[in-house]
């Protein structure tokens, strides 16, 4: 069995992994980048729509163009890239980690001082959202539909119903319409859409595709091929309301009902996942609870902008290179706590040797109007910032200059704005 030795092994060649590998390489580490598919780029390969890179490049790029900017650098970097390489498991060793990899040569083992997990996320499926009925063809996730249309040139249906108003579902509503399919409507079980407002405007409104909120698909009909779906109104708990069922003839049901970080490898190493982010807990360097094991991108938490996925990859890559080269001191950590209607704040803890500007990502758990975010450490208030509006689909990024010593936990709290406070900012 072939054995490889490297400073940093990056698992997953999507936007997070590309950025992690490039940064680790730039920081002087020897890097191996492992990708299970035949081409690097991850999900960006099939995201042919534009809107990527506005934050990072100040341009509206398509997915392949955004990935291409990193691929050009990878080609010149000397990073060893292994495609068609599937990491089946990771073990801890005395000197770091040992990755079991199934690749073109068969089985091989990679010994790495540090590992970056950039394994992305998976789509939630029909069975995970309790849709009853048989299993006819024609029921597929939005990402699968995107793969068929954009990479294989195949239209998965002519009369499509889309369940879920996530961004990929909205993007596919437009894409299917442009390719000549009829999109009968986008159904969302929650009272408000979960995708970005701009995607509702440019993907649905532009093409007169109706959006139905507080409605869900409860059953599929058809034995070989999908013939119809049953749609019901939902109550405030997202439960179907009896007596509201309506049958809609269609030949494709496309699901855009959420993404789940992919963390089989982290779980295999005994890491527990944060129930809020569904990814491992990490510090400001994206280091997990295991020394030398880093996590970034959508494996850590589902991001809505690739620009931030790349940023977290760079942070993880820098951390992994520093760790592999013995430049990362083991310091004690303080927790980061989230209060009020905050879904989560990332990172979940800070190592106390913090000297630089620290990037935080957070997401509101529910839509709130003018609200004030406060960051405190003990009695000291480090930040007070007003937000005009916060919505769960829109992740927020915050840069804080933290004091060199953190005596206590860092507390993030979000409170509705008190009347008259508006003028203070």
């Amino acid at each position: 069995m072939k054995q490889y030795y490297t400073d940093v092994a990056v698992v997953g060649g999507g936007p997070a992994g590309l950025a992690a590998a490039l940064t680790a390489n730039r920081e002087g580490a020897q890097v191996m980048l492992l990708e299970r598919e035949g081409r690097l780029g991850g999900i960006l390969k099939q995201c042919i729509h534009d809107g990527f890179g506005l934050v990072r490049f100040g341009e509206k790029l398509t997915g392949p163009e955004y990935a291409g900017r990193f691929l050009d650098q990878i080609a010149e970097s000397g990073i060893e890239v292994m495609t068609l390489a599937f990491v089946s498991g990771i073990d801890r060793t005395g000197s770091g980690y040992q990755l079991r990899v199934i690749c073109r040569e068969g089985l091989c083992v990679i010994h790495a001082r540090a590992v970056v997990l950039s394994t992305g996320c998976r789509e939630r499926t029909a069975k995970q959202v309790s849709i009853h009925g048989d299993r006819p063809s024609g029921v597929l996730t939005a990402g699968a539909a995107q793969h068929y249309v954009n990479l294989l040139g195949q239209l998965p249906g002519r009369r499509c119903v889309i369940l879920g108003s996530g961004d990929i579902g909205l993007i596919m509503a437009r894409r299917l319409t442009l390719e000549g399919a009829e999109v009968l409507g986008v159904y969302e079980a929650k009272p408000e859409p979960s995708g970005l407002a701009r995607n509702i405007a440019q993907c649905l409104t532009d093409f007169d595709i109706p959006l139905y909120t507080s409605r869900t698909v409860t059953r599929v009909f058809g034995s070989e091929r999908l013939e119809a779906v049953e749609v019901c109104e939902t109550d405030s708990q997202m439960r179907p309301v009896p007596g509201t069922a309506q049958r809609i003839p269609c030949d494709a049901l496309i699901l855009s009902v959420g993404l789940i970080p992919e963390n089989e490898l982290a779980l295999g190493l005994g890491l527990s996942l944060d129930p809020r982010t569904k990814g491992p807990q990490c510090d400001q360097r994206m280091q997990t609870e295991l020394p030398g094991l880093f996590c970034c991108g959508n494996a850590l938490h589902v991001s809505d902008l690739v620009d931030y996925v790349s940023e977290s990859g760079e942070t993880a890559g820098r951390g992994a290179a520093d760790f592999a080269r013995g430049r990362l001191p083991q310091a004690k950590t303080v927790p980061v706590q989230a209060e009020g209607p905050l879904a989560y704040v990332l990172p979940q803890r800070l190592s106390a040797d913090n000297q630089e500007k620290t990037v935080f990502y957070f997401r509101a758990g529910k839509s709130c109007g003018p609200a004030v975010l406060r960051v405190r450490c003990g009695e000291t208030e480090l930040l007070r910032r007003r937000y005009r509006a916060l919505r769960p689909p829109e992740m927020e990024r915050l840069v804080l200059e933290l004091p060199a010593e953190l005596p206590a936990a860092l507390q993030f709290s979000l409170e509705p704005e008190e009347p008259g406070e508006e003028g203070k900012q």
Binding site: E37, G38, R39, K45, I48, H49, D50, G51, L54, K60, T62, P64, E65, G68, T83, L84, H147, V149, N150, L151, L152, G153, R175, L178, E179, L196, A197, R198, I200, A201, Q202, T205, D206, D304, L305, E394
Partner: protein, 131 residues
């Protein structure tokens, strides 16, 4: 005054815009940058969009090539552009950024490749990169 969402960036500002009764003064509310104000005016007078789609490819590693308009085209011409693009076939290899059609629909905008697409090698299937 019309209400709509600005699509220029992920902020998705909710705009209110329109001409004053005098028919000359244009008013925009809700934008958080000057680009939003310019967008509002275009959107209400002659809306434009970037079109991203695929073109049929023969002899390439994949059967389709991702493309986009190099700039924005009138929103009303999107389906007409799709119709024109559906009649095209490209022969790989194609490089990202390469022009596929000059002056699409005579709108003054080129159609460009957004991905690389290699040609299938003479050696047969063993050298073809899977999807």
């Amino acid at each position: 005054m019309k209400e709509f969402v600005c699509i220029l960036c992920p902020n998705g500002c909710r705009l209110r815009a329109g001409f004053e009764p005098d028919g000359e003064t244009f008013r925009v509310e809700g934008n958080s940058c000057p680009r939003g104000a310019a967008f509002a005016r275009t959107e209400l007078t002659a809306p434009v969009r970037t079109l991203t789609t695929t073109v049929r490819a023969v002899g390439g590693e994949r059967p389709v090539l991702a493309v986009r308009t190099a700039g924005e085209i009138p929103r009303a011409k999107l389906m007409e552009a799709m119709e024109a693009i559906s009649r095209l076939t490209v022969r790989p290899p194609v490089r990202r950024g390469e022009v596929i059609v000059h002056n699409l629909l005579g709108a003054g905008i080129d159609l460009i490749a957004t991905d690389d697409l290699a040609a299938v090698l003479q050696g047969g299937l063993k050298d073809v990169t899977p999807l």
